[in-house]
């Protein structure tokens, strides 16, 4: 009987929708804390979930520059709601993370690492743009010469259940950044949602094992064809396009262009874009001492290149104006990142566009810079 065994890696299977809870239960029983999309506080966030009933069924996020609105629709799909303000970043690289404690010992100090007691996470519903974003974070924290052991631990223990988007919103531009909407690699399981079933691609041994005991069946050629159709349909929905050709050069050549001043007139330097960005990784450290003065905790906290203090050195600040900070963010994301890591720091998720309080649109500004720079 098919359902009693597990599918092989790289196989594609079909799973009836009601059986999906079984997959979640298998993950929970394997010790994973499930993190998935759910409606809370008037929006869709990524939070601990247990049941399929917690998915944002019947809701959609309508997003445009400076706006993200949760509206009801008649959809019965679990994963039709696209990305909200949350990415998976907070679970891999927490906004506040205790690095170490220092205890006073006579004249001296003893430094001890803090223990991270988070359970392994199963990320439910990772879209292609966000998979690419995780690969970007991997470049920063584990693929370089020096590994961050905290990130590495969370990342290596994470189970990734990816989802092929079956719809797009106006802020999506993954096709321009070559990062979606179809999921290709870096997952344990990749789902495509059909009205009454899921087509599931098996990406790893762990993914295969999670299907044990669920009534999966081998996918037919028709099912596989449906996956391609849905990917094509989603791709057609993506209206936002931006040319990425020759990007580092374009932005480096326009560093002194007066148009940066025009953007700075609108930018509030609020750092929202960097908080919602799934790839922004800047952090600072804070020391917190107990009143006795004998124990200090050092905490790593998200930081942003939009914060005035960010580039402070003795004698001054190297980016005192909003113009210089916005320019730093955009040129890092779209140009310097390519020099540093060999890929773009932007994955086209559109979060910075929707969550910018004044609706600054990175694709529009890039196109504008291209047309101005060309002159």
């Amino acid at each position: 009987m098919v359902g009693s065994s597990v599918p092989r890696v790289l196989a594609t299977v079909l799973l009836a929708k009601p059986a999906f809870q079984h997959v979640l239960d298998n993950l929970s029983q394997s010790g994973f804390q499930l993190i998935g999309p759910t409606v809370r506080d008037g929006t869709v966030i990524l939070a601990p979930i247990r049941k399929v009933g917690e998915f944002p069924v019947g809701w959609a996020l309508v997003q445009k520059p400076g706006s993200s609105r949760l509206v009801q629709n008649h959809s019965t799909e679990y994963f039709s709601c696209t990305v909200g303000a949350h990415s998976w970043k907070p679970y891999l690289f927490p906004p506040r993370f205790d690095l170490l404690t220092a205890h006073r010992n006579g004249n001296g100090w003893v430094f001890e690492p803090c223990l991270d007691d988070s359970p392994p996470f199963a990320f439910i519903g990772v879209r292609s743009c966000d998979l690419h974003a995780i690969a970007n974070l991997d470049d920063v924290f584990i693929n370089g010469n020096i590994r961050d052991p905290h990130y590495a631990r969370r990342r290596e223990h994470a189970f990734i259940l990816a989802v092929n988007c079956n719809s797009a919103v106006s802020t999506c531009f993954c096709t321009s950044m070559n990062s979606g909407p179809r999921v290709h690699t870096g997952f344990d399981l990749a789902l495509t949602e059909l009205p009454d079933s899921f087509v599931i691609e098996i990406g790893s041994e762990a993914g295969s094992n999670v299907l044990a005991g669920t009534d999966w069946q081998p996918a037919s050629a028709f099912d596989v064809g449906r996956v391609a159709q849905i990917a094509q349909r989603t791709e057609r929905q993506i209206q936002r396009q931006v040319s990425t050709s020759d990007l580092p050069k374009l932005l480096y050549d326009t560093i002194d262009h007066p148009y940066w001043d025009a953007i700075a007139e609108r930018c509030l330097s609020c750092a929202n874009c960097t908080m919602v960005c799934p790839t922004c990784f800047c952090s600072t450290v804070e020391d917190h001492s107990e009143l006795t003065g004998t124990k200090t905790k050092r905490t790593r906290v998200w930081d942003s290149c939009f914060i005035l203090d960010f580039s402070h050195v003795h004698g001054g600040n190297s980016r005192p104006t909003i113009k210089s900070r916005f320019r730093q963010w955009m040129t890092h994301k779209l140009a310097a990142w390519i020099d540093q890591f060999g890929r773009s720091g932007c994955v086209g998720c559109g979060r910075c566009i929707a969550w910018c309080p004044v609706g600054i649109d990175i694709t529009e500004e890039l196109s504008k810079m291209r047309s101005l720079g060309a002159r």
């Binding site: 690095l99 170490l100 220092a102 006073r104 004249n107 001296g108 100090w109 003893v110 430094f111 690492p113 920063v140 924290f141 370089g144 010469n145 020096i146 590994r147 961050d148 052991p149 905290h150 580092p248 480096y252 560093i255 002194d256 990784f281 800047c282 952090s283 600072t284 450290v285 804070e286 020391d287 001492s289 003065g293 200090t296 050092r298 790593r300 930081d303 290149c305 960010f310 580039s311 402070h312 050195v313 003795h314 004698g315 190297s318 980016r319 005192p320 104006t321 113009k323 210089s324 320019r327 730093q328 040129t331 890092h332 140009a335 310097a336 020099d339 540093q340």
Partner: protein
């Protein structure tokens, strides 16, 4: 310490975790500037550094700062750090005494290319506290004087009181190092030159085919040093500069020290000028 050995240690332990180090000596250099001799308590702590590298020095409750190692790389056990009391962490370090402990981790960063300087003339141009990361170069050159051609030190400070390591200048000169020291503003005690340090280029000759220029100081000073060196046909591949930006981690995680395509902690702080030319001196970049 070899890069492999550093990487091995960092792989085994948290790269953000400092070792405890004890202050063995404090020497006042100038008003608000002192040199701290620091020694790791733990014998397993990394030993050895190359000229131009820096350590992250921690004072729990205040934070961490990147400070260049300014001592002799041939005596790596005791590392000296010249610290100007500029911010909250450095001011708190300034209140410590001999015997007190701090946290320290390192060494980090890309060093001055000493091996490329072998057989060549070495021109060291620095301003103010910028002499600190170049002092290991000078001490190394004194140790192995015959490996280098001429060694020139062009050093400038705002006033005679702001100059570092002045008690050592005589010894350096006796060791075969040509010194050109000047100050921006002299007082009645000053017998030397007055003027900004790039002007010292006019008082010496250099062989542009066989000279490496190492420079560290305020960016505005380095800009003119580069200008004067290139005006004397020194190729930009032979000019090295030490860059400074805010740093929180020193290992490429925190993002603070980005300068265009580079992270100063990883690819720097020492850069061949040709590598950073397009970003050097760009206003607010």
């Amino acid at each position: 310490m070899s890069t492999t050995a550093i990487l091995e240690r960092l792989d085994k332990v948290d790269p953000m975790l400092p070792y405890t180090a004890t202050i063995r000596a404090i020497r006042t250099e100038a008003y608000g500037i002192s040199t701290f001799s620091l020694e790791y308590n733990d014998p397993a702590a990394p030993m050895g550094f190359a000229p131009g590298q820096f350590n992250m020095i921690s004072l729990p409750g205040f934070g961490e700062v990147a400070i260049s190692i300014c001592s002799d790389p041939n005596a790596p056990r005791m590392m000296e750090h010249t610290i100007r009391y500029a911010g909250s962490v450095t001011r708190a370090i300034g209140r410590l005494r001999v015997g007190d402990a701090v946290g320290m981790r390192g060494p980090y960063g890309n060093p001055w290319p000493m091996e490329l300087a072998a057989g060549k003339d070495l021109m060291i141009v620095s301003g103010g506290i910028g002499l600190a990361p170049l002092r290991p170069v000078i001490l190394e050159a004194l140790h192995r004087r015959s490996r280098f051609g001429r060694v020139l030190v062009l050093y400038g400070g705002r006033t005679p009181q702001d100059l570092l390591y002045t008690t050592e200048f005589e010894k350096w000169q006796e060791g075969g190092i040509e010194m050109y020291v000047s100050v921006d503003r002299a007082d009645e005690t000053w017998k030397g030159q007055v003027g900004v340090i790039p002007m010292a280029f006019y008082r010496t000759r250099l062989d542009h085919r066989n000279t490496l220029v190492f420079s560290c100081g305020p960016e505005i000073m380095m800009r003119f040093v580069i200008y004067e060196a290139m005006a004397r046909r020194v190729p930009k591949e032979a000019i090295y500069v030490s860059m400074e930006r805010n740093m929180k981690c020193a290992v490429g995680f925190c993002g603070h020290c980005q300068l265009g395509p580079v992270f100063i902690c990883k690819q720097g702080p020492i850069f061949r000028f040709a590598e950073v030319e397009s970003f050097f001196g760009r206003e607010e970049f």
